[in-house]
């Protein structure tokens, strides 16, 4: 269990802002933090990992105090068991992929975890390459493996997939989900992508202007409960075209393109790039096994 109760004044572009958080995260949770830029999302992860010290508050993890400003307890980042995936990957350019992972080993740690991780994120062929020669998705896989070398209990992901294209993104989401389960992690993900949050997280904190404005499951937070759909998908609008009296909306769901018929009133507030739910009410979807 992670209990965070902190206050920190952040110097944002619009001036000073108070980050005031009171979060409780259960072990094994996959939590997403969602909110506009400058809401304090990255600062939250940095405070949890000890890279940023709040003015006041407490952090306890599994009943262990990591931070208590009243009692002057403040564990260094080195002492907190955390895996951190940085937005810019933060791979060490002077080391090869393998050396990056080796450097992450703690003292006297058995090296066998390296080959396990390399296999898991399929880095075998790239082991001896330098980070500069890798693509974005490859770098991200190295960074993910590196964050897991010390077998942390908590994995922090700072918008890890925002710079990647849809196909690689979807694959990396699968990697993240599988390591989350395999290593029994408590994972906190910052993401702007609602589809991604639905796929990965079981809990969402909406953060705005330094405060948690809403929290709950992704469905509670993002999906209008008035639709009692049997079949729901989140996607992104790619195209809206008029066909006789109806409109055809092309929606990208994960990496599948789907066409949906809509009335003029339904598309009134829709724009290309909007996140939408595609739901079906009256009909039962049919399931076929893919051979």
């Amino acid at each position: 269990m992670i209990d965070i109760n902190i206050q920190k004044i952040l110097h944002a572009a619009q001036g000073e802002m108070l980050l005031n958080l009171n979060l409780r995260i259960e072990p094994g949770d996959f939590v997403a933090i969602h909110g506009p830029s400058g809401a304090g999302k990255t600062s939250t992860l940095k405070i949890l990992s000890g890279l940023l010290t709040p003015e006041s508050g407490t952090i306890s993890v599994n009943n262990k105090r990591w931070l208590d400003t009243n009692k002057k307890i403040n564990l260094k980042p080195q002492q907190r068991k955390i895996g951190y995936l940085f937005q810019d990957y933060a791979l060490f350019p002077n080391m090869t992929v393998l050396q990056n992972l080796e450097f992450a080993l703690s003292k006297n740690q058995n090296k066998s975890i390296l080959s396990e991780l390399i296999e898991m994120v399929e880095l075998g062929d790239l082991q001896h390459r330098k980070p500069d020669t890798l693509s974005g998705g490859q770098k991200q896989r190295v960074a993910l493996a590196r964050a897991l070398v010390q077998r942390p209990d908590i994995l922090l992901l700072d918008e890890p997939l925002s710079a990647l294209d849809m196909k690689i993104r979807s694959k990396l989401q699968d990697y993240i989900l599988s390591v989350h389960r395999k290593f029994k992690l408590t994972t906190i993900l910052i993401s702007h992508n609602i589809g991604e949050i639905h796929k990965l997280a079981n809990k969402v904190f909406l953060l705005d202007n330094g405060q948690v404005t809403r929290q709950g499951s992704p469905t509670e937070i993002f999906i209008n409960q008035k639709i009692s759909g049997k079949f729901k998908c989140i996607g992104e609008v790619l195209k809206i075209e008029q066909e006789e009296v109806v409109y055809i909306v092309t929606v990208l769901i994960q990496n599948q393109v789907v066409k949906v018929i809509a009335q003029a009133t339904e598309i009134e507030h829709l724009q290309i790039g909007d996140q939408v739910i595609v739901a079906s009410k009256a009909f039962n979807p049919i399931i076929y096994k893919v051979e």
Binding site: Q78, G83, A90
Partner: protein, 223 residues
């Protein structure tokens, strides 16, 4: 031909650069990452030799180190060190005089490294020292090389400060730049030309080497 002044010049530059490298890395690290209010003051102190005439620096050292003064006398009496008109004194003055040339490139290099590299190492449990040695310094090799070469070249090119505090003692403080001045005064142009030519060619080669390395022109010869 008398090689002694040239030999002395390169010895001085080598000793000065080595000590500067050791001193400048912690200083540049502090300047690059500190949030202290003292930072602008320290930065100014480091940069002063860039703007001050070398004679000003030399003059104050002469006063401070003179055995007629309390500090110079104390050094002389207790440690047996005489800093005025000696090689040791030259090294100390050269360190201060060339400090900005070593500190600035290293500081700029460290500031240019994304903070996340340092943070990533900390989160992995690496100490500050291990992070500096294994992550930060290997990624600013070109900045360190630039600093080393500039400090070396600048020490080779010293004149005013050496003249003030070192005087002109053969084998002790008579470096090449002083020797050139001396020979010209004595209308001995051939000797002056010899020293000058050696300095000219060696400086050209050193700087060319740096630009070749930093520009990546030599990459195909290794790796």
């Amino acid at each position: 031909m008398n090689w002694e002044p040239l030999f002395l010049t390169f010895k001085l530059a080598l000793v000065t650069t080595s000590i500067l490298l050791v001193l400048s890395i912690p200083l540049a690290y502090w300047l690059a990452y500190t949030k202290s209010r003292l930072k602008p003051v320290v930065e100014t102190m480091v940069s002063m030799p860039l703007v001050l005439p070398p004679t000003v620096l030399g003059f104050y050292f002469l006063i401070a180190f003179s055995p007629n003064n309390a500090f110079g006398n104390w050094l002389n009496q207790w440690l047996g060190i005489k800093l005025v008109f000696s090689f040791t004194g030259l090294v100390i003055v050269s360190i201060i005089y060339s400090l900005p040339f070593m500190v600035h490139p290293i500081q700029a290099g460290l500031s240019g490294i994304p903070v996340s590299l340092k943070e990533a190492a900390y989160v992995m449990g690496k100490s500050r020292f291990s992070t500096v040695v294994n992550v930060l310094l290997p990624n600013i090799k070109t900045s360190i090389l630039t600093g080393v070469v500039l400090a070396f070249a600048h020490t080779v090119g010293e004149f005013g400060v050496v003249l003030m505090i070192g005087g002109n003692i053969p084998g002790q403080t008579k470096v090449a730049s002083i020797a050139i001045y001396d020979e010209v005064e004595a209308l001995n142009y051939a000797a002056a030309n010899f020293y000058s030519m050696v300095l000219f060619i060696s400086s050209f080669c050193i700087l060319l080497f740096v630009y070749l390395i930093n520009g990546g022109y030599l990459k195909r010869f290794w790796k």
